[in-house]
Symmetry: C2
Subunit: 424 residues, 2 copies
Amino acid sequence: MSSIETIDTFDVRFPTSAMLDGSDAMNPDPDYSAAYLRLGTDAGDAGHGFVFTIGRGNDVQLAAVRAVADLLQGEEVEPLLADMGGTWRRFVHDSQLRWLGPEKGVMHMAVGAVVNALWDLKAKRAGKPLWLLLSEMSPRELVDLVDFRYLTDALTPDQALEILETAVPGREERRRRLEEEGYPAYTTTPGWLGYDDEKLVRLAREAVEEGFEQIKLKVGSDLDEDVRRLRLAREAVGPDIRIAVDANQRWDVDEAIAWTNELAQFDLAWIEEPTSPDDILGHARIAAAVAPVPVATGEHMANRVIAKQLLQSGGAQVLQIDATRVAGVNENIANLLLAARFGVRVCPHAGGVGLCEAVQHLSMFDFVAVSGTVEDRYLEYVDHLHEHFVVPTDVRNGRYWPPAAPGAGTEMLAASVEQHLFAG
Amino acid sequence: MSSIETIDTFDVRFPTSAMLDGSDAMNPDPDYSAAYLRLGTDAGDAGHGFVFTIGRGNDVQLAAVRAVADLLQGEEVEPLLADMGGTWRRFVHDSQLRWLGPEKGVMHMAVGAVVNALWDLKAKRAGKPLWLLLSEMSPRELVDLVDFRYLTDALTPDQALEILETAVPGREERRRRLEEEGYPAYTTTPGWLGYDDEKLVRLAREAVEEGFEQIKLKVGSDLDEDVRRLRLAREAVGPDIRIAVDANQRWDVDEAIAWTNELAQFDLAWIEEPTSPDDILGHARIAAAVAPVPVATGEHMANRVIAKQLLQSGGAQVLQIDATRVAGVNENIANLLLAARFGVRVCPHAGGVGLCEAVQHLSMFDFVAVSGTVEDRYLEYVDHLHEHFVVPTDVRNGRYWPPAAPGAGTEMLAASVEQHLFAG
């Protein structure tokens, strides 16, 4: 037996705003940051987790991570890892902490960092990358990871079990396909609002040359500008490359409908985050009014209850899970199961700090053991800050290649953490 | 001109769990707490705000309050108070802090504490209680306090203006009525799950004797127990007193419908928080299936976008705003206007630490200047911890009596803060 011996938290910030990397209609000057956690054991190993933020407030997020992680001081590790469903419930249903959400915002994301650090440790102890560890668990074990509270009107444990059991026979073959063909990616690198035309066109062409089948542009600040930039991008990439657009919650419902229908002439792969991520009814109205353009959302979806409703209402044709917005791997498994139940494709949000490294495990697990398909699915890729991770993403030819190293992808290089510690 | 000179924050906790005060199906052992803020100016006056929590995590909430309040260090006070709508937007739309919600949870509540502290200061400088200060503002000034982003598909600024202008002619008469008749209250004091039968019956009878027309019981842990306790309560108070029940988010959707329909035999005033506060579609399904029992919710409603949808969907027949869950007075004015637009009554959540003291101002303002009615409206009252406030609620004969003292009701006694500082 081993126990949690050290709980270290780090306020890590990168000065990305200086380059306008990551600039969009709602986030003009993000400084990509991580509220980073290391759980060390007396056996000498460790698990790592983090919450991605965009600068100010990273210290508040860190205080929340600390508050949750401190509950583990001195705890035996093996029981925690053996019952990750119970471990999740213990944190999320702590009645006093729950009041601070419930199940949303800073406190919920903090639970996610702690849960993900335990998954990182569990995968390292198993000597497997997280996607493979999950893909080899039995349907019953996977169902036990999920909290079905508030979900049963859309997904019961039995229905989840059936989805997972249906996927069992094809697991081996899909694992081989994943290792041979990779997982399709799309890139947002060309599309930040702060980039000038020359940079946009150049990066869009480079993306095609690098093998990406889809790119994404930020929109929503100025309609004429959006039309102009989309025309440039469409000319640069030709008719066969998909172009998605992302409004980053900029619009009200009616504005979203009118604006999207103007941009639809450029053959959009999807319209992303047209309005408030809390507006289920708004998304449903928008989706109906801009069809056949699909509506994509999810990176700011607070929890599985929001995911459930986006699917029930027809508000999302593309579900964009995020590795650090919800309460970790367990809740994202719930989201993947909900999407499979409703036949909706999952194209995760990534970028930021380490989101690509973390979320790829979930998409790969989904392909092998849940939905069983990559059809029309693309995992977001942004070429920023990967060099700070122990196992950086391997993206070539427009595809993510499955990591073989043990762990959840959430460990940063000690030197990077040290160098980018925020002085306050 | 004066400026913000001191920003002091206090982790205040009361050991309420020892008495089972506040115990319900989701919160078995709350320690009522406040993440409390004092903004002092170089003119020698101060504003006070807080977030109510139930114990663990109050330190995290305080770190968030601090992060927001620190933005005010050294700022001139008069411009902040003269444009409270702009002040609100500045905090809520800070793009980096926004990422930590957006507009929900710890960070959003922190904005509320700071905004409310500024309202407290503004009201004190005006020499008026907040309810009167607001009730004397012009419809145009009130509309300018509200951020209509994400609301315009349900409520436009022009529609809000019309609601407020319609109420102008009756303001004086209703102010007189308020001062003569008070604002109707209901009490939750008898209904905590942790109380035994004798205490339940005794407190229910006392409530009636004290003049309350409505009481509330906690339910949701055990159906047979709920039936038994409701029968005792109904026998104790007779057929003419309203009895509301509160499940505190305990149920899934189908369970909520079945359970409520079982309890309906006791003539329920409403069923409160039947399921997740994020489940708009769930509330709509429950409301349709348990009618004519009204569904009440709102104390955990993250923001005005959720309020909008609860009203659009028919998911709430009673909207229960809370003084410290959203981003302060401004956002609650949006919620009051939305409720007025949809013709839905507002019966605020209160209790905890200082929620009665704070939210009464909003109900009284609503009566005088927004909805113009108290019909079927009851403001929650729980007889806990009022002695720690500089202007404690005055509840007699089942009614809240309007405070005359200047301020927003959010100032605690310095000695109480001192005595209940959490040692950590």
